[in-house]
C-alpha cells in the first residue's frame, strides 16, 4: 500500500481488461457525478492525490493506474501493448465498472490528457463521457495536423513555432532510443527524479513521486514508442471532440508550447480556455486552482445535461481565461482606480472582495461587480492603516472566502503642500495609509499566498510621483516611492515562490483622490478651492480609471514589475532614467492651482 499514502480513505478495486489488471481507487459519494482522473508520464494515479482530495467533497472521484504504471499490471510483451486503442479499452472498462449508467467527467494530465483526447474523439466512447478537462497533453492527431500545416506552408512564424516545439520535445526523441531510457530510469535518473522535480518544477516535496516511479517510467516509454510516430505521421482526420472540453494551459510548461492549441476551436467547438502561470506538473503545484476549475466545469455541464438553465456561464471579459473563479482582493475599492479594478476583475469572472473604509461605496462596488460577471463579491469595511483591522480582515477572508489569488493594494490618499507646511500629523497620516496600508496588505495576504505555495500576484498602486519629484507633493511622493521600492524588493523575495509583484504608476487619473486630498498649509476654504480646482484640472485631463484597471490586469497576466500608465507617467519614467535633470527642473515648477 506504499503508493496510497496520498489517497487516504480511497476505496480500491481491480478491473480486468484484455489480460491486464487495473488498480482503481475511488473517493467520495458514488451517487454524485463521476470525475475520472487520468495520470501522465512518468506518474501513477497518486499524482492526483491533492486534486482528488479537494474534489471528493462534491464528486465521486475515480483514479486508476494506467497499464504498466503504479500497481496495475503491464502487458507482455510491452511493445504494442500501449497503443491508444488498448488504452481506450482500459478507459471503457474502468468507466463501465465505476459508473455504468452515467457518463463520466474526464480529467487528464500529460499522457493522461493525450489518451483522454483519444477517448473524447473516437466514436465508441460516445455517450460515456460528459466533459473533458485537458491539461498539458495535446491530442496526437491534432499535433500531427499542427505539424503538417506548418510544414506545408512554412511562414517564418510557423517555422518558429515548429522549431520551438521541436526543441521542447527533446525528451520524446530520447525515449525512442532502445533500452537506454529504461536503464536511466531504473538507475540514476529514477533516484534523482524527485529532487529534479523539486528544483526545476517546484513540485512540493512529500510522498510524491511514489516508489514505483522507475518501473512506471520504464514501462511508460512504450506510450511514446507505440503511438507517437504512427499518429504524428498519419493523424486521424476525424479527431473532433464529441464532448465539451476545458483546456487548462500552464504558460510555463517547458515541454509544450502554448501555440499547439492555437487552432483547437476547430477540433473542439465547445472549448473553454483557462491559462495558468505555472509549470508542467500543475496537479502537484496548483491543486486548488485545478479543483476549482474542474468543479465549475463539471457542474456547468451537469446542469446543462439536466436541462437546467446554466447559471455558471463563463465570463466573457478580457483575461477571463486567466482570472475566472480566482479570488481577488482590492483595497480602496469604493472609488476611482480601485473600483474600476474590481469591476475589471469581475468582468473577467473573478470572485471579488471589495475593501474600503467607506462601507456604502464598498457595498456598491460589490453589488455592481456581481452584475457584470463576478460569481461572488463581498464588501468589507476596513481602514487599511489600521493594523488590527487588517489582521482581522485577513483572518476572515482566509476563513470564509479562501486564499487570495490576486491582491491589489490600491487604497491611498493625496496630500499636497510644501515640506515645511506639512505637519508631523500630516506625514503620519499619509504614510499610514499609503505605505503602511500596503505593508499590512503584503504582510498578511502575501503571507497566506506564500504559505499556500500555489502562486499568486500582488499589485501595489504606487504613482508617477514615485519617480517624478515635485515640490508640491513631498509627503505623497515619498510614500509612493517607498511603495515602489517595497514592491521591487518583495518581487525579488517572492519570485522563487511563483508570486509576482507589480507596482502600478498611474499618473494623472480622473478620480476623486483630488476631491479628498489634503492641502497642507492653507485654511479650510482655500483647501476646498484647491480641491475643486485640481478636480477640474484632472477632469480636463480626463484619463479614465478604467484604463488603469486594464493596465493592472495586463500587469498581472504578464507579471510586469513597474507599469507607468498614462503617457505623462511613461514620459516621466523614461526621463527619470535618461534625463533626470530635466525632471528635477520640472519638480521646481509651481503647480497651476
Amino acid at each position: 500500500m506504499a503508493g496510497l499514502k496520498g489517497l487516504a480513505g480511497a476505496r480500491e478495486r481491480w478491473v480486468s481488461t484484455g489480460g491486464i489488471e487495473l488498480c482503481v481507487a475511488e473517493l467520495g459519494d458514488p451517487s454524485r457525478p463521476t470525475v475520472l482522473l487520468v495520470h501522465g508520464y512518468p506518474d501513477s494515479k497518486e499524482v492526483w492525490s491533492e486534486v482528488a482530495e479537494r474534489l471528493a467533497d462534491q464528486f465521486h472521484v475515480v483514479l486508476y493506474d494506467v497499464r504498466g504504471h503504479g500497481r496495475s499490471t503491464a502487458p507482455t510483451p510491452l511493445r504494442g501493448g500501449f497503443t491508444l486503442e488498448k488504452l481506450t479499452d482500459d478507459f471503457l472498462a474502468v468507466a463501465d465498472a465505476v459508473s455504468p449508467d452515467r457518463p463520466v467527467h474526464l480529467v487528464g494530465h500529460d499522457w493522461g490528457s493525450v489518451q483522454s483526447w483519444e477517448f473524447a474523439t473516437v466514436k465508441r466512447t460516445e455517450g460515456r463521457i460528459a466533459s473533458f478537462t485537458s491539461m498539458s497533453g495535446p491530442s496526437l492527431d491534432h499535433f500531427g495536423h499542427w505539424i503538417k500545416k506548418r510544414m506545408a506552408r512554412p511562414t517564418p512564424r510557423r517555422v518558429g513555432q515548429l522549431l520551438g516545439q521541436g526543441a521542447k520535445s527533446w525528451y520524446v526523441y530520447m525515449l525512442h532510443t532502445p533500452v537506454l531510457p529504461e536503464l536511466a530510469w531504473r538507475g540514476p535518473l529514477g533516484k534523482r527524479w524527485p529532487k529534479i522535480l523539486e528544483r526545476v518544477e517546484k513540485v512540493p516535496a512529500g510522498d510524491y513521486p511514489t516508489p514505483s516511479l522507475p518501473s512506471d517510467a520504464a514501462h511508460g516509454a512504450w506510450l511514446y514508442r507505440d503511438n507517437v510516430r504512427s499518429r504524428l505521421s498519419r493523424p486521424r482526420a476525424d479527431a473532433y471532440a464529441h464532448v465539451p472540453v476545458q483546456l487548462v494551459l500552464p504558460l510555463g510548461d517547458i515541454f509544450l508550447s502554448e501555440h499547439l492549441y492555437d487552432e483547437l476551436e476547430l477540433w473542439a467547438p465547445q472549448l473553454v480556455r483557462r491559462t495558468l502561470p505555472a509549470k508542467h506538473w500543475v496537479p502537484r503545484t496548483r491543486p486548488d486552482q485545478l479543483a476549482a476549475w474542474i468543479t465549475e466545469f463539471v457542474l456547468a455541464n451537469e446542469e446543462r445535461e439536466a436541462g437546467l438553465p446554466v447559471q455558471r456561464t463563463a465570463a466573457t471579459g478580457k483575461h477571463a481565461d486567466r482570472f475566472g473563479g480566482q479570488l481577488v482582493l482590492v483595497t480602496g475599492a469604493g472609488s476611482g482606480i480601485g473600483r474600476a479594478t474590481a469591476f475589471a476583475f469581475a468582468e473577467a469572472g473573478a470572485r471579488v472582495v471589495a475593501v474600503d473604509r467607506d462601507a456604502e461605496s464598498a457595498a456598491r462596488t460589490a453589488e455592481m461587480a456581481q452584475l457584470i460577471g463576478a460569481p461572488q463579491a463581498w464588501a468589507e469595511t476596513v481602514d487599511v492603516s489600521d493594523e488590527q483591522a487588517m489582521e482581522k480582515l485577513a483572518e476572515k477572508v482566509a476563513a470564509e472566502y479562501g486564499v487570495v489569488d490576486v491582491l491589489v493594494n490600491n487604497a491611498g490618499i493625496g496630500l499636497s503642500g510644501s515640506f515645511f507646511d506639512t505637519s508631523a500629523e500630516d506625514w503620519k497620516k499619509v504614510l499610514d495609509v499609503n505605505l503602511w496600508g500596503v505593508i499590512h496588505g503584503c504582510r498578511l495576504f502575501g503571507k497566506q499566498m506564500a504559505e499556500r505555495g500555489q502562486g499568486g500576484h500582488i499589485v501595489n498602486t504606487a504613482s508617477a510621483a514615485a519617480f517624478q519629484p515635485s515640490k508640491a507633493l513631498p509627503a505623497y511622493s515619498t510614500s509612493k516611492a517607498a511603495v515602489l521600492m517595497l514592491s521591487e524588493c518583495l518581487r525579488a523575495e517572492l519570485a522563487g515562490q511563483g508570486i509576482g509583484v507589480s507596482a502600478i504608476c498611474p499618473g494623472l487619473v480622473n478620480t476623486n483622490i483630488t476631491a479628498t486630498a489634503r492641502f497642507a498649509g492653507v485654511d479650510a476654504e482655500e483647501e476646498k478651492r484647491r480641491q475643486k480646482k485640481s478636480t477640474r484640472l484632472y477632469g480636463l485631463r480626463n484619463y479614465p480609471p478604467e484604463k488603469v484597471a486594464d493596465a493592472i490586469l495586463t500587469a498581472v497576466v504578464r507579471n510586469q514589475a513597474v507599469v507607468p500608465v498614462t503617457p505623462e507617467a511613461r514620459g516621466a519614467h523614461l526621463m527619470s532614467r535618461f534625463t533626470p535633470r530635466a525632471l528635477r527642473a520640472i519638480a521646481r515648477m509651481e503647480p497651476p492651482l
Binding site: 473600483r339 455592481m368 477632469g539
Partner: protein
C-alpha cells in the same frame, strides 16, 4: 415668468407636453418593434416614419438610435459617431432611442432606454437614474448654479460607480434649452439638427452671452449661472462598462417664488417614471 404667467402659459405647456408624450409614444412603439438583426439606421428610420405619419414636419434633431456599447458612447471621439450605423441589434443588447420632433411649433427632446430581452445591468442603471431626476429638480429649485448642479450630478454618478456619458455630447451638455419653433414649409436640417431650432438656439446663445447665461447646460464657465427660466431638455446619461442608459425630458423653470412652481418636470406620466413607480 411669474406664476401668473405660468397659468397663462399653461396652454403653451400643454403643447409641449403633447409633443413630448407623442415622442415617448413613438419610442415605445418603435421599441416594441425592435428585434434581432434590426440596425440602428432602421430603428432611426422607424422613428422618423412613425412621427411623420402623425404630422411631425420639423425636428430639433433627427432621431438617433444606439445599440450595444454605443449606448455608452464607447470610443466616441467625433460627433459624427452619434449618427446611426449599421450595427445590428442582438438578444440582450441595450438600446437607446433619442428623438426631438417639432409638432405644431412645439419642440420635444426625449431619450428612451431599453434592452432586447433582459439586461440586468441596464435595469440597474435605469433604476439609479431616479436619484438624478430628483437631484436635478431639487437643486434647480434651490437656484444653484447650473455648473454646480452639473458637478453634483457628476459626483452622484461617480458615487454610483458610473461614468458620465453626457460629457460626450456636443459641449458636454447635460441639458439644453428648447423653445417654440416657427412652422415653415421647408424644414432643412444641418448635421441632423433642424435649422429653425438651431437658429433659436443660436439667438439664445447670443442674447445669453450678453446677459451672462447660456442655453447650453455644460460643465464649463459659461454655465456658471442660476437656472434661466424657460424649458430645458435634461438628459443625464449614465455609462457602465459598455452599457448606457439615459432619460431625456423637459424641465420647466419659472421665476416663481414658490419653490414647487419655480421648477417642475413637464410631465410625470413617462415610461421611466412609471417604471420607478412600479418599483421595477
Amino acid at each position: 415668468m411669474t406664476s401668473a404667467v405660468v397659468r397663462e402659459l399653461s396652454a403653451e405647456l400643454r403643447g409641449f407636453r403633447e409633443v413630448q408624450s407623442l415622442a415617448y409614444e413613438c419610442a415605445e412603439a418603435v421599441a416594441a418593434r425592435l428585434e434581432p438583426g434590426v440596425t440602428e439606421r432602421e430603428a432611426a428610420r422607424m422613428q422618423r416614419e412613425w412621427l411623420r405619419e402623425r404630422g411631425v414636419r420639423d425636428w430639433f434633431h433627427l432621431p438617433f438610435a444606439w445599440f450595444g456599447d454605443r449606448t455608452a458612447f464607447a470610443g466616441f471621439r467625433i460627433p459624427l459617431q452619434f449618427f446611426p450605423t449599421n450595427r445590428k441589434l442582438e438578444a440582450g443588447m441595450p438600446f437607446i432611442l433619442d428623438m426631438a420632433p417639432v409638432y405644431k411649433g412645439y419642440t420635444a427632446d426625449i431619450g428612451y432606454s431599453g434592452s432586447l430581452g433582459p439586461n440586468p445591468v441596464q435595469d440597474k442603471l435605469l433604476a439609479d437614474l431616479e436619484a438624478h431626476r430628483e437631484l436635478i429638480v431639487r437643486e434647480v429649485r434651490e437656484r444653484r448654479s447650473l455648473r454646480e448642479i452639473y458637478e453634483d450630478v457628476d459626483r452622484l454618478m461617480v458615487r454610483q460607480g458610473y461614468a458620465n456619458r453626457h460629457r460626450a455630447y456636443p459641449f458636454g451638455v447635460i441639458a439644453h434649452k428648447v423653445d417654440r419653433v416657427k412652422e415653415r414649409r421647408l424644414t432643412p436640417t444641418l448635421f441632423g439638427f433642424g435649422t429653425q431650432s438651431l437658429k433659436g438656439l443660436a439667438s439664445d446663445a447670443i442674447h445669453g452671452h450678453r446677459d451672462g447665461w447660456s442655453p447650453l447646460w455644460s460643465p464649463y464657465k459659461f454655465s456658471d449661472h442660476p437656472p434661466k427660466p424657460g424649458l430645458w431638455a435634461v438628459e443625464p446619461h449614465l455609462g457602465f462598462r459598455g452599457t448606457g442608459a439615459k432619460f431625456e425630458e423637459i424641465l420647466v423653470v419659472t421665476d416663481s417664488k414658490d419653490p414647487e412652481q419655480s421648477a417642475f418636470w413637464l410631465d410625470d406620466d413617462l415610461p421611466h417614471v412609471r417604471r420607478w413607480a412600479e418599483g421595477i
